[in-house]
């Protein structure tokens, strides 16, 4: 019993922390409270994962009202994994934030910054834990609104237009989602995901259900930045403050992919998908996204923008697994979800260290820094290798599963696309590494500037993520083991 309370506490703790942090005086106190809360939430998330990894499902009724009338928090291995990622990234980003935020955001906005960060964490964790569709919408909007506010705090004025563009597109996406939910409610009379899964099969031929599915898919495709609807992402990631970029890049889109998995496989089952052209459409969009965005990333001159386009391509990989629709495909999606959070988190943290020392994120200002900041450079190298998918890193595991899933479906085009995507990733990772290490350091030597290595507070979280990349490249028990457990629950009745 107590365990289910703790699952709820994961969402309530940041929610309680946010108003408290908002009224604290500016200084170290908001940061300290936020960090404490995020570490406690991470501890609870790890504990929760240990509880559900055996296949046990935690069910918590809000308000004591039994589902399907009440709101239910239903936590199985998939939720627990996503919650672990979100809380883990938050727990690592907040120590990083102490120095980074002090440099980028004026002092009088610090308390409100951390309050908004806590609200974003609440929203993302709520999405991961809930089993009720409307509750999902509420938490989706909480996390989205706080991320719009966080993004607009960037130094340049383009941060404002980037936040505005994200606001318009994000709200349209959320409104599409809620139209779909309304249509589903009108047809079935329930908002609980498990109950919907039971009531929908007899209604599959109904046109309203197809419309609802279409609205929900488009709404969330906007949120997770699937290829044609990704337009807000590069601007948002480039102009946001560094801490916000790290946190959002590693969590927000992953949670949206998780929701899409839930919708596609739990609420609407695989048999529904196979009767619609959705899976082929997803495959087409993903292929275009992976190739197009990886290609486009090579031409970028700003390191944050380069990694943002790379993120869109990697999301293409994740949705590829959904499009393939098999057990191996979903396994690949979930494993890549976890690993990409680690990869992008590490890479963005390393870029953040460079930005902290240099003050700009453009590649031309990074020349030769690799020799003067060796630890940061090593982090970028390992993170880059993971992004490419070199054996021995976490990225390899997820690419391996994707290739296996594609081979199982005899879809050789997809296999080729995955491999070409990795080659393109080599190109843009090499671009960063070349500028950092091999470009002449004349400029810096002429001006006699020595750039110190990044401070310890920035290095330690970065290296925790980098080492996690390598660790999960060798020991796949946590990721693949949990994911296989999760997939059994996600696609019920499918034999291995």
């Amino acid at each position: 019993m107590i365990e289910s309370h703790l699952s709820l506490l994961m969402v309530v703790l940041p929610l309680l922390a946010a108003p408290i942090v908002a009224v604290l005086p500016n200084g170290r106190l908001p940061w300290a409270v936020s960090t404490l809360v995020s570490w406690s939430v991470f501890y609870l998330a790890a504990w929760q994962l240990m509880n559900v990894s055996t296949g046990h499902v935690i069910s918590y009724e809000l308000g004591g009202w039994a589902p399907p009338w009440g709101i239910e928090y239903r936590i199985d291995a998939v939720n627990a994994l996503v919650a672990l990622i979100v809380s883990g990234i938050a727990a690592l980003t907040l120590p990083y934030a102490l120095k980074s935020v002090t440099k980028e955001i004026p002092q009088q906005q610090h308390a409100l910054f951390y309050a908004a960060f806590m609200l974003c964490l609440t929203g993302l964790l709520g999405i991961a834990q809930t089993g009720d569709i409307f509750n999902l919408f509420v938490f989706l909007e909480i996390s989205s609104l706080s991320s719009y506010a966080l993004i607009s705090l960037g130094k340049k004025r383009q941060a404002l237009t980037a936040a505005y563009q994200y606001l318009i597109m994000g709200t349209i996406g959320a409104t599409f989602f809620i139209i779909g939910v309304g249509l589903l409610y009108a047809m079935t009379g329930t908002l609980n995901m498990a109950d919907l899964a039971q009531r929908l099969p007899e209604l599959y031929e109904h046109r309203t259900i197809h419309t609802a599915f279409a609205f929900i898919m488009v709404g969330f495709a906007l949120k997770l930045a699937l290829f044609p609807l990704h337009v807000w992402l590069p601007n948002a990631y480039t102009y946001a403050p560094m801490v916000v970029t790290i946190f959002l890049a590693a969590t927000a889109t992953k949670v949206a992919v998780y929701v899409m998995l839930r919708m596609v496989f739990t609420v609407f089952s695989v048999s529904f998908i196979e009767n619609t052209p959705v899976d082929e459409l997803f495959l087409l969009l993903c292929v275009m996204g992976i190739l197009g965005m990886s290609f486009y990333a090579i031409y970028q001159k700003d390191s944050k923008r380069l990694l943002a386009y790379s993120s869109v391509a990697q999301i293409g990989y994740m949705v590829l697994g959904i499009g393939l629709g098999s057990v191996l495909g979903v396994t690949a999606t979930l494993v890549h979800l976890f690993n990409h959070a680690l990869m992008k988190g590490a890479l963005f943290m390393a870029i953040g260290a460079l930005v902290y020392r240099v003050g700009s994120s453009r590649l031309e200002h990074f020349s030769g820094l690799g020799k003067q900041m060796p630890w940061t450079f090593a982090a970028i190298v390992i993170g880059g290798l993971s992004l490419i998918g070199v054996p021995g890193t976490a990225g390899f595991i997820s690419k391996w599963y994707l290739v296996l899933a594609a081979i199982e479906k005899q879809n050789w085009l997809i296999v080729a696309v995955i491999l070409i995507g990795s080659l393109l990733a080599v190109a843009y990772v090499w671009k960063i590494i070349e500028v950092l290490y091999f470009k002449a350091t004349d400029e810096l030597e002429q001006k006699n500037i020595t750039v110190k290595e990044a401070p310890l507070m920035l290095l330690i979280p970065m290296w925790v993520l980098v080492l996690a990349n390598v660790y999960f490249g060798f020991n796949t028990e946590l990721t693949v083991g949990t994911v296989e457990q999760a997939v059994k629950l996600l696609i019920p009745g499918v034999n291995e």
Binding site: E141, S152, R157, L160, T161, Y164, L167, I168, I179, G182
Partner: protein, 119 residues
Amino acid sequence: MMEIILEHYNYWLGVIIMMAGFYTVISRGNLVKKIVGLNIFQVSVFLFYISIGNVKGGAVPIIEKGITLYSNPLPHVLILTAIVVGVATTALGLALVVRIKEAYGTIEEDDIHNQDQSL
């Protein structure tokens, strides 16, 4: 034909308002007009939800002695939440527009784009 329109007039109304709002968001270049269009878009969704909650012959969903058939109170609660979300989004959007005006001097999307391109 007339029955199709008259029977389901709430759905028709919802769709027309939704498309009006959505078109405003896409086609207008003025940032404030975009936010207004977004609001109209959201209002259509609210109308749709509340209209499907109505039960033919049902009373207002407040408990009173002697009445057995009530309209569905759940959509009302859902829409209350959605309205609050809409208000918060509008306030945030308008605050961003005020800051954009101070930073760029204009709130027309084309002018802002030109100013950024020339950087």
